[in-house]
Amino acid sequence: MGAKICVCLKVVPRAEVQLRIEEATHRLDRSGASELNPADEYAIEEALSIAASLDAEVVAVSMVPLSGVETLRHALALGVDRVVAISDVSLAGADMVVTSRVLAKFLEREAPDVIVLGSQAMDGRGAMLGGAIGQHMDLPVMSGVRSARVEGGRLRATRLSADGEVVLETTMPCVVALSGSANVPRYPSFRDIVTSKRKDISVISAADLGLVPSESGPAGSRTHVIGIAPRPVRQADAEIFVGEDGAAAFLVGVLDRAGLT
């Protein structure tokens, strides 16, 4: 059996979309245009580079509403071999515990050598999934990782520490959760984009994974939103100068008044 790398992806509202939380459900409105969580491009790049050293297949998985499935095609254009969308109305509003359980169920079936996740999703999902997936699957986890590679049959990962950097090593299979910008993601060529249109994205449900509604639906969630209110606006009292001419003199005045010159 060949080596396999799985990368977990998230579809988020596009950066230019005005984010909105639905009053009735307290959930993020996902009806607008969507894109791949920008941090996940680093995860795909890291997965592809680990896969290159192992001659491994790369499989991307995402828990995503049906309306966001096509957005995952970008992963195919970037070089992922296969994309699986777990899409099911019962999963709407799933919290971190449920999401990690659903992904872990899928990943157990795929049995990859390495599971790669991007850092904090832009819409607040948090950088938690990696730790939870590792626990569900009883796999070692390395998080906050800036780069990872296979060395002598083990996975070696570098991350920032309070005193500089630390290089960790663990057995495979394992989970790697990346920090922010871990690498330089590739840019798909026109040809890659065209080819990706011909590939299939398989869509499966929570039931296909053998999950029952009490595990995968809102009933499985252990957190809930009680209410949402606009943040009380703190009147910004900053003095702002526009333009370059005279800006330095303005700043010297600021420093003088603050007793800092």
Binding site: G124, L160, A162, L168, C174, S221, I226, G243, E244, L251
Partner: protein, 337 residues
């Protein structure tokens, strides 16, 4: 508490996970001891690592009534695996119903793992927690910090992870008991090891001690332009810091990085040049005395945080500011001489 029942059978006293940096408890985790006392009138704490006994003995000074430490050789701040097992064992043995943590890389992994292990809810990036009608409610900012979300937990334990830098430690001496934990560690936790540590803190001046910091971010054109910042820092008797993207580009050492994954600084003066002011950067510098921002993007969020700002090109403004300050210093020197 308002006298209503806690929704479960566990201990009412929250357990605070104490993080250690350079041999001392982090201010953020000490602050959570005060949060715990506000919630329940008592606080428990757990701390793991080679220096943890020493740190544990300081914790009753910040309101920890019960303290556990684990200082066996398997414990290291860089390896959350054994720490997860130790904290999980303590939660089971003592029936803790509430666990409070910071939002460091390690604490996030610990909270996430505990959540999956106990099928427990985790709310993160919290600003605060309080008891409301007998229920614990957390508050969190979202959508670019424009809305406040109240969040709750169903079931126990309740895991609450707090945004870095939201609280201050409160010194309040309590009698406090300190005990060593003898946790059993799973084989999973022992599979990850430290291959190498690369210390990049160079000798000499430390960023955290600097009274003035001139910081550069993505808006800095190229590595050479950082010399403009170095000149300004030198004129002000300060040091240069950078945001994470510049470290990623290899323009500056990680020891100069300010932010969530770098240093937390609070100089008297912080001049942010070409820094947008992302949350990850803000948590490292927002407690600075006077914050000045120079950025060509008028919508940069740093302008909502600074005391004074210039919307303009830093490559023009910074050298001119350096020149004016040098001229001022020269005039002062000749007047004094």
């Amino acid at each position: 508490m308002s006298g209503a029942d806690m929704s479960g059978s566990g201990s009412d006293t929250p357990l605070v996970f104490i993080e250690v940096r350079r041999g001392a408890a982090t201010p953020g985790s000490l602050a959570l001891l005060a949060t715990a006392r506000r919630l329940a009138g008592a606080a428990a704490a757990v701390v793991c690592g080679p220096d943890s006994e020493h740190v544990a003995r300081t914790l009753p000074g910040y309101g920890a009534d019960e303290v556990w430490f684990a200082d066996q050789p398997t414990f290291d701040a860089e390896l959350p695996g054994p720490i997860i097992d130790a904290v999980a064992g303590l939660i089971v043995a003592r029936g803790f119903a509430t666990v409070l943590l910071e939002t460091s890389v390690a604490a996030v992994e610990i909270a996430a793992s505990l959540s999956a292990r106990f099928d427990a809810g985790v709310n993160w990036d919290l600003q605060d927690v309080e008891m409301r009608d007998g229920q614990m409610v957390g508050t969190r900012l979202a959508l670019g910090d424009t809305v406040v979300i109240d969040v709750g937990w169903t079931g126990e334990p309740r895991l609450a992870s707090f945004r870095l830098g939201v609280g201050e430690p409160v010194e309040q001496q309590v009698p406090g008991s300190v005990q060593r934990l003898e946790p059993s560690i799973s084989s999973r936790a022992l599979r990850t090891t430290i291959h190498e540590r690369r210390d990049s803190t160079h000798e000499g001046a430390q960023l955290v001690d600097a009274a003035v910091i001139v910081a550069g971010g993505r808006g800095v054109r190229d590595a050479a332009s950082l010399q403009l910042l170095e000149a300004l820092a030198s004129a002000l008797g300060g040091m240069v810091a950078v945001s994470m993207p510049l470290v990623d580009r290899g323009w500056y050492p990680v020891s100069a990085q300010v932010g969530q994954t770098g240093q937390k600084v609070r100089p008297r003066l912080y001049i942010a040049c070409g820094i947008s002011g992302s949350l990850a950067h803000r948590v490292g510098m927002e407690k600075s005395g006077t914050i000045i921002a120079i950025n060509s993007d008028p919508s940069a969020s740093i302008f909502g945080l600074c005391d004074a700002g210039v919307v303009g090109d830093l490559h023009e403004v910074v050298p001119e500011l350096t020149r004016l300050i040098r001229a001022r210093r020269a005039a002062e020197a000749s007047a004094a001489g």
